[in-house]
């Protein structure tokens, strides 16, 4: 028997009870000796698979950082090529690493670290982790590149694997797209293969790596990771140390005070959407000076923005106050603007408070004597927007924004509660808005006394105006509804009208176009009563105005699907929405959405993940998948058959040898991979319980010698010799009841 002697090695191998020889040896040695031992050369790692897996993990980390912009593309390409070259160099010099290369690498690492320190000294801000993310990613990338030239041993490769994880994490810190999953998947696969190779190398294993066990391990890791993701609380924006704000391009606007965004040109002034004309960015016809509610663009699934918010809500873009029967417009008094030039963060609360005071609200919108203690601001709602498509220069936010973090020195705040940038909102722009989301519970609003016309400030005049002589039927309908509901206060009137619309109106985007000269509201309320959000909300606004309640049309976005992996709401083009803002004395504008019940509660990531998983599985293209799996199975079957055919013994020697091995294995004596035929025959000879007794084993040596001569000695046995050898082999039958269990079966069942 040729047994392999695998001794316990030093280093990471020597763990465990007695496998840690250093534990006892460390007693009584000095610090210098400990350092010397820790830096002593380790056994070289010969596994090419391990090295390739490590290189893939490192490259994935570098490319993931490049994908999110933390490392430039040129640097990523250079580092990737250098890493591969370094891995090859390390493999070639693994047995005897070049010492002078180590010295050079050490000097290079010191230089890179010094460069990193200089960068963060110039750019880092106290408490702003994001300010050092880019230098940190650069540091990690270059250190990985340098380290790849000196990874002769398994410990070095494991270090590279861990550092690749750090790189992927750095990339993940800036990732907002689900496409990042590809990097995580590749990195995880490389880690699994690398760690599996490490364990195999640690124990002296040989042969190809078991892909089945790797796949099983990966499945378990994914399931465990999903469990962690579901169980652990998701990170919330309020826990952020830094509030992100960044630009990828700087495109000044032609009209800084206006609204831009036409077609794909985010720098061009926005044009009112027409059925046959240019549409707004993302397919929505709003976000312009006018809103024609009879025209609706084709809104798709493309992601416009991604939002991280503690509390999802109505992300307001702008409001309209003037209604002409078909279009909403912005009246000149409310179109006044204030340009803030203080730089980020912009304090918009003071500007909005001044607007509110002009509209008769108290500062902050709270009157303790009127509503008691039930009215107050909730915790800050921090919303970070990641722009994915060219959009209008509007900064969206939930109600009552107080601070805006925007990477530009000026910001415009309009009297219509809109916030506008002076540069184009291009893909990659990131900004953060902090809102108070003044929490006004329905019970509080219900306490508001019936609104008297004397309580309405003059500034709200446009919010009550209607085209003369058009809406007598609408007014009669509104009065009929509120009378039937016995509604006296503003809140009761709004809810009564909403309830009526819920019972009598149907939502559909497939409606016939409005004829020329027709009034949109009359056509909707007394015609088909089928429409979409603009018509439903406009009808509510007109009915409320006929009852003397100040109302305006608000447009913006509602939260889109929640991505539990990135913890972001993905706002798609079809999430553009219109709703109604109703003015309450001493409180201000409050949102009412008559169209639909929009889920506003923060979703449970686990439930969303499972739901999305179920939908994803259900929506998979099963026919192609089945075909592909069938093709793979067929290919595997063919490959297996070919492999077996190739392994099938050829020639007389191969057949007889295979028969001998088969009979020996049946007796429980398998041939070892390192055993020659003669050695195997000798071992078979020691098995004295063949059915034929010693007569079966005695000629075995002669037969094996003949086989070896025939195989390697240019010897062609004659018919008699062949018959002798075959008879010897065929005479091997283990005696009944004496069959040994094969080692494999013993091993697995013991």
């Amino acid at each position: 028997m040729r047994a392999r002697q695998v001794s316990v090695r030093r280093g990471s191998d020597s763990v465990g009870q007695a496998g840690r020889p250093g534990a006892a040896d460390r007693r009584g040695i000095g610090f210098v000796e400990m350092v010397r031992r820790a830096n002593a050369p380790l056994p070289p790692e010969h596994s090419v698979t391990f090295r390739i897996a490590t290189a893939v993990a490192v490259l994935t980390g570098i490319l993931s950082c490049a994908a999110v912009g933390e490392v430039s593309v040129s640097s990523a390409v250079f580092a990737s090529v250098g890493t591969v070259a370094g891995m090859v160099f390390s493999y070639l010099t693994r047995v005897k690493p070049w010492q002078w290369v180590k010295i050079l690498l050490a000097v290079a690492v010191l230089g890179i670290f010094a460069s990193f320190v200089l960068q963060i000294l110039g750019a880092a801000q106290v408490g702003q982790l994001s300010s050092i993310e880019v230098p940190l990613a650069g540091l990690f990338t270059w250190v990985q590149l340098i380290h790849s030239f000196d990874v002769p041993a398994r410990r070095d490769l494991l270090f590279s694997l861990a550092a690749a994880g750090a790189l992927v994490t750095l990339g993940a810190a800036q990732a907002v797209s689900v496409g990042f999953l590809a990097y995580v998947a590749v990195w995880l696969g490389a880690c699994l293969v690398g760690l599996g190779c490490s364990w195999r190398s640690m124990t002296g294993g040989v042969g190809p790596i078991a892909l089945g066990s790797i796949a099983t391990t990966g499945l378990v890791v994914v399931l465990a990771g999903a469990g962690f993701l579901v169980l652990l609380p998701a990170p919330r924006a309020t826990q952020l140390i830094t509030l992100p704000a960044s630009l990828t391009s700087y495109l000044p606007l032609r009209d800084p005070g206006g609204i831009t965004g036409t077609g794909d040109q985010s720098t061009e002034p926005a044009q009112a959407g027409k059925a046959s004309g240019a549409t707004g960015v993302g397919g929505y016809l709003g976000f312009a000076t006018e809103l024609d509610i009879a025209v609706r663009g084709a809104l798709g699934d493309e992601v416009i923005m991604r939002v991280r918010a503690d509390r999802p809500g109505y992300f307001l873009g702008m409001t309209y106050d003037t209604w002409d029967g078909q279009n909403w417009k912005r009246s000149p008094p409310t179109a006044r603007i204030v340009q803030l030039t203080t730089g980020s963060p912009f304090d918009v609360s003071s500007v909005l408070s001044s607007f509110a005071q002009a509209q008769g609200q108290m500062d902050g919108g709270m009157v303790p004597g009127l509503y008691g203690d039930e009215l107050g601001s909730g915790p800050a709602n921090i919303q970070t927007f990641y722009v994915a498509q060219p959009i209008a220069n509007l900064l969206f936010a939930t109600p009552d924004p107080t601070e805006v973090y925007f990477p530009e020195h000026s910001l415009i705040v309009g009297g219509d509660d809109s916030m506008r940038s002076t540069i184009a909102m291009t893909p990659g722009t990131v900004y953060t808005v902090v809102s108070t989301d003044t929490a006004v519970a329905p019970s509080v609003l219900a306490k508001a006394r019936p609104l008297q016309s004397s309580q309405i400030p003059a500034a709200l005049g446009p919010d009550l105006e209607l085209p003369p002589g058009r809406y007598e039927r609408v007014a009669a309908l509104a009065r009929q509804i509120v009378t039937a509901a016995r509604a006296t206060t503003t809140y009761e009137k709004v809810t009564a009208l909403e309830a009526w619309m819920g019972r009598n109106v149907r939502y559909s985007t497939d409606i016939p176009p409005l004829l020329a000269g027709q009034d949109a509201v009359n056509q909707f309320l007394f015609g088909s009563r089928v429409g979409y959000c603009e018509q439903i909300s406009t009808s509510l606004a007109v009915m409320l105005r006929t009852l003397g309640v100040p109302t305006r049309e608000a447009i913006g976005y509602v939260p889109g699907p929640f991505d539990p992996l990135s913890d972001l709401y993905e706002i798609q083009a079809r999430d553009a929405h219109a709703w109604v803002q109703v003015w309450f004395p001493e409180v201000g504008w409050q949102n009412f959405d008559p169209t639909a019940q929009v889920p506003l509660a923060p979703p449970d990531p686990g439930a969303v993940l499972l739901s999305d998983l179920g939908h994803a599985i259900a929506n998979l293209p099963w026919a192609p998948i089945g075909g592909g799996l069938g093709a793979i199975a067929t290919g595997a079957f063919v490959a297996l058959a070919v492999r077996r055919r190739r392994r099938r013994p050829t020639g007389w020697v191969g057949r007889v040898t295979a028969e001998l091995e088969r009979r020996g294995a049946a007796a429980g004596l398998r041939r070892w991979p390192t055993e020659t035929l003669g050695e195997y025959a000798s071992r078979l000879g020691t098995f004295d319980r063949w059915r034929a007794g010693p007569t079966a084993t005695a000629p075995l040596r002669a037969a094996s010698a003949l086989l070896e001569r025939a195989a390697y000695g240019y010897y062609e046995p004659d018919a008699g010799t062949r018959a002798f050898v075959e008879d010897v082999v065929r005479g091997l039958h283990p005696a009944r009841g004496s069959r040994r269990r094969s080692p494999r079966r013993r091993l697995t069942t013991a």
Partner: protein, 316 residues
């Protein structure tokens, strides 16, 4: 003929197995040195979660969850793999000497580390189904049929070792002979530990007195071939000083293991010394089957006899 007899004082009981003081066999898989990996994992995940919550990035948390899954699997998976570890002895030698290393060919069903527990030995890392040599060092003389080994695994990542004990059955009994008590340089010159065979015996000494029929225990060199041919029976020479008569050695081991070992070592040393001088020895010992009186012609058979010997029933 009994010319000389050395009789050690008898003892009550003897050693059956060349084992160290018995240790409890732990079949339950337990982690080894778990504090470091577990604390390191917890610290790493805590830091990761901190970064995830500080950056607010869901992807950081996702990557952290994947890393947590990796680490959790690395910590826990060996606990499920350890009960399935099986070590099988493929081959082991027949004879050994107390205090000297013995190599046993073993093969495991999975990659593992095995450490002899009942005997001293070297920890061995072995790959799945690849034979390897486990080195054990029996401390006492006796007959070994099983070895308790601690098998451990850290699969699939080598992060944390979980271990349990397994009783490894040898393919056949291992006779551990006592270490011969050294009797000077002559012993080292004449014997090598591996061979167990003595050098050529010295020629006969003394004046020839006559011939006599062959008796059990007579040396081959004493055969008088001419007389044998003449008489038709095997005849041997007799000398005046009769230096080649067999020495009868009676070894009664005491019950105390240490004392028995010391006595066996003395006996072994004496036997080796006498064999190196060409003397013939008839050894009388007590084995499990009873009293055994038989000549020992070489060191190997003497070692086996002493390995098998137990305390005699009439020993004090």
């Amino acid at each position: 003929m009994r010319r000389r007899s050395r009789q050690h004082r008898p003892a009550v009981d003897g050693a059956r197995e060349a084992m160290a003081p018995r240790q409890r066999v732990r079949h339950l898989a337990l982690p080894e040195r778990a504090f470091g990996p577990v604390a390191g994992t917890a610290l790493l995940l805590f830091m990761w979660a901190g970064v995830a919550h500080a950056s607010g990035s869901g992807w950081v948390q996702t990557v952290g969850a994947v890393v947590a899954g990796l680490l959790l699997l690395g910590l826990v998976a060996p606990a499920f793999a350890a009960p399935g570890l099986t070590l099988v002895c493929e081959r082991c030698p027949t004879d050994a000497t107390a205090g000297s290393a013995v190599e046993i060919d073993v093969v495991g069903n999975r990659s593992m580390r095995c450490t002899p527990r009942s005997l001293r030995g070297t920890p061995l890392l072995l790959a799945r189904r690849i034979p390897a040599r486990l080195v054990i060092v029996p401390r006492r003389r006796g007959v070994i049929s099983t070895v308790t080994v601690r098998v451990a695994t850290a699969a699939p990542f080598g992060l944390l070792w979980w271990s349990r004990d397994q009783v490894l059955e040898l393919t056949h009994p291992l006779y551990v002979a006592p270490q011969p008590l050294k009797r000077g340089a002559a012993l080292r010159q004449t014997l090598t530990p591996e061979e167990g065979h003595g050098p050529p015996r010295p020629t006969l000494t003394g004046d020839l007195r006559g011939v006599r029929p062959y008796q059990h225990g007579d040396g081959r060199r004493r055969v008088h071939w001419n007389a044998s041919a003449h008489t038709g029976d095997l005849m041997v020479r007799e000398s005046e000083n009769q230096t080649d008569d067999p020495i009868r050695m009676v070894v009664d081991l005491p019950r105390d293991l240490d004392a028995a070992d010391r006595l066996a070592e003395e006996a072994m040393g004496e036997i080796v010394a006498q064999l190196s001088k060409g003397r013939r020895i008839v050894l009388e010992t007590t084995e499990v089957t009873g009293r055994v009186v038989a000549p020992v012609a070489e060191r190997l058979s003497a070692g086996r006899r002493l390995a098998r010997s137990v305390a005699s029933s009439d020993a004090r």
